[in-house]
C-alpha cells in the first residue's frame, strides 16, 4: 500500500521582485538573468513567515482533499529555512491548522519534498491513512544580497499535498553523494564564548558549474530509472515536474531525455528557485490547471545540496 494525492495547495508571498528591481542594487541585468537562469521575477517575503505560507498551502490542500485537519495521521515538512530550528515547521503547521498528529521536518535541501513523499510512503506501508507533506522555504534570509551569482536565483514560497492510502505512488529513487564544497549553507554563527574556529557566514554558496553538471546528470538518470521501475516507458509520462532550479537545467535535461518541452513543466520564470517548495507549488498549479486527465502519469525529479537527488512516478 502506498498513497494517492487527494489535495494540493500553494502560497507565495505578495511582494514581486523583478530582475530590474535587482539590477538597481546588483551589477546584473534582466537579459543576463533571463538567459542564464530563465527567471523574470520571484516572490520575496516582506512580512510573511514561512509558517504563514505553509499554513495557507496546507489549508488549500485540505480543502481540495475534502478532509479535516483532525483526520491527518502525520505532517511531514521539507524545509531548510524554517522560522525556527526547533520547533519544526511541521509542528508549527500542526498547531496553526489545528491537527493532532505527529509532525516532523526533513532536510534533503532542494530534493526534500520527494524525500518527504518517500518517507510518507513508508508510513502508509505501516497502515497510516492520511498524511500531509509540505515543502516551504524562505531562502531570501539565507542569501547574501550583495552576491549577484546567487541573489538572482532564489525565491520564497510553500506548497502542500494531502495524501491518502492508495496505489498511485508507483516508483521512487533517492540518492545522496555527500559533498559540502559544491553547494552549501552554513548554520547561523551563534555566540559561543568557547568556540575557537572561524565561522562562515550563513549564506548560500554555490559552484554553479558543478551544480549544473550534477543536476543535469541526476535528472536524466533518475527519471529514466523511476520510469523503468514503474514499468513504464518515457512516452507514457504525461507530465514531468522538475525542481525549478534553472530553466537551462530543465531544458537541457528534457532535450537529452527526448521529452517534449510542453510536457516538462516550468514556473521558474515567475517563482525563482524555491528549493524544497518548488515541486509542490508546480504540482498545485498543474492540479488546478484542468490539464490533468485520470490515469495521467507524472514524473517528479529534484536535485540539490547534499548532493542529493530524488525522483518518483505517480498516477493521477
Amino acid at each position: 500500500m502506498s498513497f494517492r494525492i487527494i489535495g494540493t495547495g500553494s502560497s507565495l508571498p505578495s511582494r514581486v521582485v523583478t530582475n530590474d528591481d535587482l539590477s538597481t542594487f546588483l551589477d546584473t541585468s534582466d537579459e543576463w538573468i533571463s538567459q542564464r537562469v530563465g527567471i523574470s521575477e520571484r516572490r520575496i517575503c516582506t512580512t510573511e513567515s514561512v509558517a504563514q505560507l505553509a499554513h495557507k498551502a496546507a489549508k488549500a490542500a485540505l480543502e481540495m482533499g475534502g478532509i479535516t485537519p483532525l483526520e491527518l495521521d502525520m505532517i511531514i515538512c521539507a524545509t531548510i529555512s524554517a522560522d525556527y530550528l526547533a520547533p519544526s515547521l511541521a509542528c508549527t503547521v500542526q498547531q496553526s491548522i489545528g491537527a493532532n498528529c505527529p509532525a516532523m521536518d526533513i532536510n534533503a535541501a532542494c530534493s526534500g519534498f520527494i524525500y518527504a513523499l518517500d518517507t510518507a510512503a513508508g508510513f502508509f506501508a505501516r497502515g497510516f491513512k492520511k498524511i500531509m507533506v509540505l515543502g516551504a522555504e524562505r531562502l531570501s534570509k539565507l542569501i547574501d544580497w550583495n552576491d549577484r551569482s546567487t541573489a538572482v536565483i532564489f525565491g520564497d514560497g510553500a506548497g502542500a499535498m494531502v495524501l491518502e492510502a492508495g496505489d498511485a505512488y508507483l516508483s521512487s529513487k533517492l540518492q545522496a553523494k555527500g559533498n559540502s564544497d559544491v553547494l552549501s549553507i552554513p548554520q547561523p554563527i551563534g555566540h559561543s564564548v568557547y568556540y575557537e574556529n572561524e565561522m562562515p557566514q550563513p549564506y548560500i554558496f554555490m559552484n554553479g558549474q558543478e551544480t549544473y553538471k550534477f543536476a543535469v546528470n541526476a535528472m536524466c538518470a533518475d527519471i529514466i530509472d523511476v520510469v523503468k521501475l514503474a514499468g513504464l516507458e518515457l512516452d507514457d509520462i504525461s507530465w514531468v515536474i522538475p525542481h525549478q532550479a534553472n530553466a537551462r537545467i530543465i531544458d537541457t535535461s528534457a532535450k537529452r531525455l527526448g521529452i517534449a518541452p510542453e510536457r516538462c513543466l516550468k514556473n521558474i520564470d515567475r517563482t525563482g528557485n524555491t528549493s524544497a517548495a518548488s515541486i509542490p507549488i508546480l504540482c498545485d498549479e498543474l492540479f488546478r490547471s484542468g490539464k490533468l486527465n485520470d490515469g495521467d502519469y507524472i514524473a517528479m525529479s529534484s536535485f540539490g545540496a547534499g548532493l542529493t537527488s530524488a525522483a518518483c512516478v505517480v498516477r493521477y
Binding site: R36, N207, G208, Q209, E210, Y212, K213, V216, R248, T252
Partner: protein, 75 residues
C-alpha cells in the same frame, strides 16, 4: 588530442565550422556562455570517459583545453 575533440564539440554545439576554432578563440566571440561551456565539458567527459571538477571559468578555448589536459596528467 583534447583540442581537436573540444573544437569538434564546440563546432557541433554552436552549429559552426570546426576550422574557425583556434586555441585563441574566446567563448565570448562564439557567443557561448558559462553554462554552454559546462554542457560541452559534459560531452567531453562522456567521450573521454573521465570526470572533471569545474572550479574556474574560461575565456578562451586554449584555457579550457589546458585545464582539461592538466586534469588528464594528474591521476
Amino acid at each position: 588530442m583534447v583540442f581537436e575533440k573540444m573544437a569538434a564539440i564546440i563546432a557541433e554545439h554552436i552549429g559552426g565550422d570546426v576550422a574557425d576554432i583556434t586555441m585563441d578563440t574566446t567563448f565570448e566571440e562564439l557567443e557561448v556562455d558559462s553554462l554552454d561551456t559546462v554542457e560541452m565539458v559534459m560531452k567531453l567527459e562522456e567521450d573521454l570517459e573521465i570526470e572533471l571538477e569545474l572550479e574556474e571559468s574560461f575565456e578562451t578555448v586554449g584555457e579550457l583545453v589546458a585545464f582539461v589536459e592538466s586534469k588528464l596528467v594528474t591521476p
